[in-house]
């Protein structure tokens, strides 16, 4: 069985923990509880004909109060960037974390999910911005931890890329 460490990176309150919880347990809580440090969850997927166990490192959100520890990234085979569609600034944070991850890990697979698609009317991130990122070669998802839309696809796609990269 293949085991891969992946990290979820993003600004604070973008929904990293909610995405992991939705993916691992299928549950969602409206209550926002900030993450401190690291929580590691594990989930095994069937990708093609292979079982892949993802060690999902849910890292605390980056903001003025907590800075990302590069050491947490070490050993990651890939990562998921998470942005909040309702806050344009979280995409900037995701792009900054992408730079950090690239410099730490090198060119490993990654995907971007713009979360909170259940409140699309409130979004500050427009389709043109996402198109720009896709044009750069990014794999961009929109989804919602609340409804579950796009969540499994997100992890499966990354797992596939991890296998392709291996």
């Amino acid at each position: 069985m293949i085991q891969k460490k992946i990290c979820l990176l993003g600004g604070f309150a973008v929904g990293k923990t909610s995405l992991v919880r939705r993916f691992v347990t299928g549950m969602f809580s409206e209550l926002y509880q900030t993450t401190i440090g690291v929580t590691i969850e594990k989930k095994t997927l069937l990708v093609g004909d292979q079982d892949v166990t993802l060690m999902i490192w849910d890292l605390y959100g980056k903001d003025d109060f907590q800075n990302m520890r590069e050491s947490y990234l070490r050993g990651s085979s890939g990562y998921i960037l998470v942005a909040d569609g309702m806050r344009r600034s979280t995409l900037d944070t995701a792009e900054a974390l992408h730079q950090l991850a690239q410099s730490t890990l090198g060119p490993v697979p990654f995907v971007l999910i713009v979360n909170k698609a259940d409140q699309l009317k409130e979004w500050e991130i427009d389709e043109a911005t996402l198109a720009r990122l896709r044009h750069k070669g990014w794999l961009v998802f929109t989804g919602s931890a609340k409804t579950g839309d796009g969540v499994p696809e997100l992890f499966v796609q990354l797992a596939q890329k991890l296998l392709e990269a291996a």
């Binding site: 309150a13 440090g37 690291v38 070490r74």
Partner: protein
């Protein structure tokens, strides 16, 4: 001296007691791999979190994925840098009952021993998390607020842009329609004035907005009163009224007052510039009327132009024409078109007065100058100082007065009767006569030098029979005047009535026409003047029957007719003259000719 044994005993147990109190699990690395052994008794949480045997070495990596990662991170500290202390930071791990706890690991080297300290930090973590949660909640709240403000701002900016666009469209529409607009609130204060309106009233918006609308408009009191009444009256008022805006460019403005569709107490005043129309109308009126002169026949238009020409200069003018042609009106028109218009205009009739009486009237006298001169008296020349003196019937003035008059014209000074020193006067002389003064000069009744002095410019008024085309206009104007005086509402003139007026010879000219119209209005029983309403003589005398009347006959009315008129007017000369359609001066002259006593 050796320390007390009890102290030695407690020192041996101190580290263990300390670790127990701090809740730390201390593991010492065995060899160079991931194998560790617990030092001392582990804290109570150890047994509920990890399945380990106290006696056997422990493979730490498999205990928790994070610990595996941390061992890798700590390797350099243990191997190369013994002074370095590596802290893991908080990490979460579920205990054997799946309850999530928070831990922190520390790697260090002490006494060449590689140590791994694991601490459960639930309580400390909770307080940190609470603090951080608060900070982040506040940050999210702030972001929400900023977003709400931005949305509000965007919404307001959008609304403002729409409002601005609508305003611009409205202004463009007003501009296109050549309209200006004022909007007032329920208190009558201006809340909006279009740029065109501001340009017309020559005020910046800052001085207009918020002001009572009445004070904002440069209009006179009569217009203000009219506008105030219209503003207070029930709206909408679509009928237009005219007011005049004063300013460097005076304008004639039509206005409409409407109710604001969105608020019945607010008013929208639409203003239309009708200055050009007004000027055109004025020009048209000028074509038909000049001062109080009515007529648009070529002869009259030529006279209007002549009046304008002589009004510009200060020359003496001789106005000639038959009685009743309006010589005094011409004199007034010259005066009121001239730079002297703000000074007195005095008319004096020179006919029928003795030389001393006329001299006194014209030049004034000193007390005691003659019997009855009980006080100093200034004459008409002094009264007219700075203005115009109109000497009617100048052909009738006695020779002695002619001499004095000539002196005034030459020296521009008069001497009161009974005085010796002259007084300077600045008076323009306009003279009129029905005489042929050239013939009077030949007959020796009028001084030639005086004639040349007064006839610097001359205007000859045609008799009415020579400008019959003006009769309908004159009748219209006279009807208006007479109806206003008598209070009767005559709106029409029967075509036969007009035909009658057009065929009559009018020896008394316009004055006679006025009397005839006045007579007809008084006689009329309907709103339309019929031929039968006019005086009898108009029916008796046809134009063709009349002799050429280029010169007025001194005996136009028989003595009986003059006496009848006097009797009808109860001795009032002015009324009698009016009845006969002749001037008062002509009446006097004819009374003298018929040896009728002229004393009042």
């Amino acid at each position: 001296m050796a320390p007390p044994s009890s102290s030695d005993s407690s020192s041996d147990h101190l580290p263990e007691a300390l670790l127990k109190t701090l809740g730390l699990a201390v593991l010492e690395r065995v060899g160079t791999g991931d194998t560790f052994r617990l030092i001392g008794n582990p804290p109570l949480w150890w047994a509920t979190t990890f399945k380990t045997s106290p006696e056997s070495p422990i493979a730490v990596g498999p205990l928790a994925p994070f610990l595996q990662h941390f061992l890798d991170e700590s390797e350099t500290a243990w191997r190369d840098n013994h002074d370095r202390v590596v802290r893991s930071g908080p990490w979460s791990h579920r205990d054997l009952t799946s309850i999530l706890h928070q831990f922190e690991a520390t790697a260090l080297t002490a006494s060449h021993r590689a140590l791994l300290l694991i601490e459960r930090i639930d309580e400390r973590f909770d307080s940190i998390q609470q603090l951080l949660q608060q900070a982040r909640d506040q940050r999210l709240h702030h972001i929400d607020q900023v977003k709400t403000h931005e949305r509000t701002q965007t919404s307001l900016t959008g609304s403002l842009a729409i409002a601005t666009q609508e305003r611009d469209d409205l202004l463009a529409l007003l501009q296109h329609l050549d309209l200006a607009a004022i909007v007032t609130n329920q208190e009558g204060r201006v809340t909006f004035a279009s740029p065109r309106c501001l340009a017309w009233i020559e005020c910046p918006s800052t001085t207009v907005i918020g002001q009572p609308w009445e004070q904002s408009l440069p209009i006179d009191s009569a217009d203000r009163k009219q506008l105030r009444q219209a503003w207070k009256a029930a709206v909408p008022q679509r009928s237009r009224h005219s007011i005049r805006f004063a300013g460097t460019t005076p304008r004639w403005i039509d206005y409409e007052i409407h109710e604001d569709p969105q608020s019945s107490e607010r008013r929208i005043i639409l203003l239309h510039d009708r200055t050009e129309v007004h000027h055109l109308r004025q020009q048209l009126n000028h074509q038909m009327q000049f001062h109080d002169l009515v007529g648009r026949s070529p002869a009259m238009l030529q006279i209007y132009q002549l009046v304008r020409d002589v009004a510009r200069v200060d020359s003496t003018v001789l106005i000639e024409g038959e009685t009743g042609t309006g010589k005094e009106l011409i004199a007034r028109a010259i005066h009121y078109s001239s730079p002297r218009k703000d000074r007195p205009f005095i008319a004096a009739n020179c006919a029928g007065l003795t030389d001393s009486l006329l001299g006194s009237q014209l030049f004034g006298h000193k007390r005691g100058a003659f019997t009855g001169a009980i006080d100093d008296h200034h004459g008409l020349f002094e009264s007219a100082d700075g203005g115009t003196l109109f000497l009617d019937e100048i052909g009738d003035i006695p020779t002695s007065v002619q001499t004095s008059l000539l002196r005034v014209l030459q020296e521009k000074e008069i001497t009161r009767l009974g005085e010796t020193h002259p007084r300077k006067v600045n008076v323009r002389i306009l003279a009129a006569t029905h005489h042929n003064l050239n013939e009077d000069v030949i007959r020796g009744t009028f001084r030639a030098d005086l004639l040349y002095r007064i006839r610097v410019a001359r205007i000859h008024l045609p008799p009415l029979r020579d400008r019959r085309d003006d009769i309908p206009l004159l009748v219209q104007a006279l009807l208006g005047q007479v109806c206003a005086t008598t209070g009767k509402a005559i709106t029409d003139l029967h075509p036969d009535g007009l035909r009658l007026l057009m065929t009559y010879a009018w020896p008394g000219n316009v004055r006679e026409l006025k009397s005839a119209v006045e007579f007809a209005v008084i006689s009329a029983r309907t709103a339309c003047l019929m031929p039968s309403d006019f005086p009898e003589e108009l029916h008796r005398t046809r134009r063709d029957d009349l002799p050429p009347a280029s010169q007025e006959s001194q005996h136009a009315e028989p003595k009986a007719q003059l006496l009848q008129a006097l009797q009808q007017a109860q001795g009032n000369r002015t009324e009698a003259a009016k009845i006969l359609g002749i001037s008062r001066a002509t009446l006097y002259r004819r009374l003298l000719a018929h040896h009728i006593d002229v004393a009042e």
